[in-house]
Symmetry: C2
Subunit: 374 residues, 2 copies
Amino acid sequence: MLSTLRSSLRRFSSSASRADRAVVYESNGDPASVLRVLTYPDLPQPPADSVKLEFLLSPINPADINVVEGVYPTKPSLEDALTPAGAPQPLFVGGNEGLARVTALGSGVNSLAVGDWVIMTKQQAGTWATSRTVSVKDVLRVPSPESLTEVQAATLTVNPPTAYNMLSEFVKLEPGDWVMQNGANSAVGQAVIQIAAARGLNTINFIRDRPDLEQLVQKLKGFGATHVLTYAQLADKSFRNKVKEWTGGKAGGSDTTSMVRMLGNDAHLVSYGAMAKQPLSLPISLFIFKNLTCHGFWQSRWYTQRSLGEREELMKNLVDLMKEKKVLDTPEHDIVTITAQESDEQATETIRDVLKTMSAGRHGKKVLLKFQNS
Amino acid sequence: MLSTLRSSLRRFSSSASRADRAVVYESNGDPASVLRVLTYPDLPQPPADSVKLEFLLSPINPADINVVEGVYPTKPSLEDALTPAGAPQPLFVGGNEGLARVTALGSGVNSLAVGDWVIMTKQQAGTWATSRTVSVKDVLRVPSPESLTEVQAATLTVNPPTAYNMLSEFVKLEPGDWVMQNGANSAVGQAVIQIAAARGLNTINFIRDRPDLEQLVQKLKGFGATHVLTYAQLADKSFRNKVKEWTGGKAGGSDTTSMVRMLGNDAHLVSYGAMAKQPLSLPISLFIFKNLTCHGFWQSRWYTQRSLGEREELMKNLVDLMKEKKVLDTPEHDIVTITAQESDEQATETIRDVLKTMSAGRHGKKVLLKFQNS
């Protein structure tokens, strides 16, 4: 509610009255060294097929760090770079995901209105900025924004659709079917649990052992998880027989040999997280005699291959789940705020400190960036 | 021609005039210890839905050894076992593949005629025998038998259909597309080369280095292989760039990380041979960012899941390829003959010696079993 009020107020502020800023880098490297905050001149009116956006909140995701490092398979394009007058080379803007408000329309745009909330479907469009101009085909309107928090909307592009599509693109799942997943406490894992529960699917969820295990188990069960288990239990053979009992040998899910060995015939294994350095290693006999099929899923590719209608339907389905089933609630998060009072140098320090912490290890919560403009 | 003449003559011999024999085992174990040849009483007239068969030639495949050892995922069923009067327990008959001639029809059978050549589509039906009674739904008539040798027909059940279906079940391949395979000198590998060439598909084929490498390369190129290369070349990075040049990055095929790394986006990897003890181990990033899909293929499952019409069409397509494109010629082979003069004990020695040799290592040629009945 608060966020909606704030964004309504902001509709009346003029983007011309303040400086635009972005988190940029010239060349790949350690984010804590190469990123800096830059103030740049106000953007001109958008071209006919484009819109001007004001970013409200932009996640800083682990993959964004890999992009800055140059080790991610996709790179920001030159057309999305900033080229301030006198700059010796283009400046890439960080950030892939973000919630923005439309502030100006190109003359040919009639599918969006000023004030609409949008998210990016183009990769690496550069969302760590106050304001950007983007082609209308690279954004998607957020349906029913009044029912979402800014954090929910800002994290709507990648994780919830990944979970939603993995449960619908590869095999037709019916209520009562079983889905098995590891990394069940990740953002996608939590979304899988909730979307599966809303559809009447059973889930078996694997997590690492930890001091506060029982607390996490209760949290995931609160999301609708049927079973939550540790990898140590997964390694136990008597336990694997129990799983066969539960599922009647009928289960489909994701990852690691022990888990896959429990799957029934004709199972589908879908991998979506490439953070793991370990390869996927499976006995060939599982493919041949149990008819296992392995797929990868990448939400970014999905956006490039689907029509606007299909993208809009996906968002509508997700937001409907949020409204009607009360799932996919605002994730735990920290917001890093860059105030208007901070100089570019001070803001650069703030950003580098955050990135240093994130690169060092598991943060646990979503981290989002907010530029304060007033 | 000779084989056709022989099988025509045999039509006039009466199956009642000689003893029936089979290679049997009571319990799993080393084939060279547990297999024995047994003479058993003449089979009665077949039930209404069954036919009586005389086997002309039955392959001894590596997987048959695994079945006798008890390490193959499917077992012969009790209904296919022999239970001679006074036997303390059922005797399993070895053999999965074989060419047989119909010698008698059950009263309800009108889809086959006496004299027809048939092959088995049921697994582990027990083909190492002179004569068996089988349900009509478990056999498939060999089309145009006059155009095939006995060896071609006897080896038609598993390898050529595996190659044919792998090239058609998973992805729509158009003339000019590229297929990559390892184990290219296996029976299935050679069939893949020939069927692909007949369809205008390009193949890149990997084989082990060996003293007579050039000779084998020429043989496979004679079958229509576009490129034949060794695993050492596969490990060479500059070579991998050459492959990208040839294929324009567009290739689909089978097995091992180095090979898969050369594949283009949206490739399909199909495994069919479970002899390898090594698991399939692939970087997860290939699944996610290159949209690789991994499947297994098992011709035995295919038969159980398809209609009679589809099975017949498969055989027709294969035999048409043989007749019109002159591919899938009689494979190199050795025939082990059990003569009518040999006692069961002598025949048992013969069989055990063959199995001992086969278990010891690569035989290279197809081995087929023939009972001489005259």
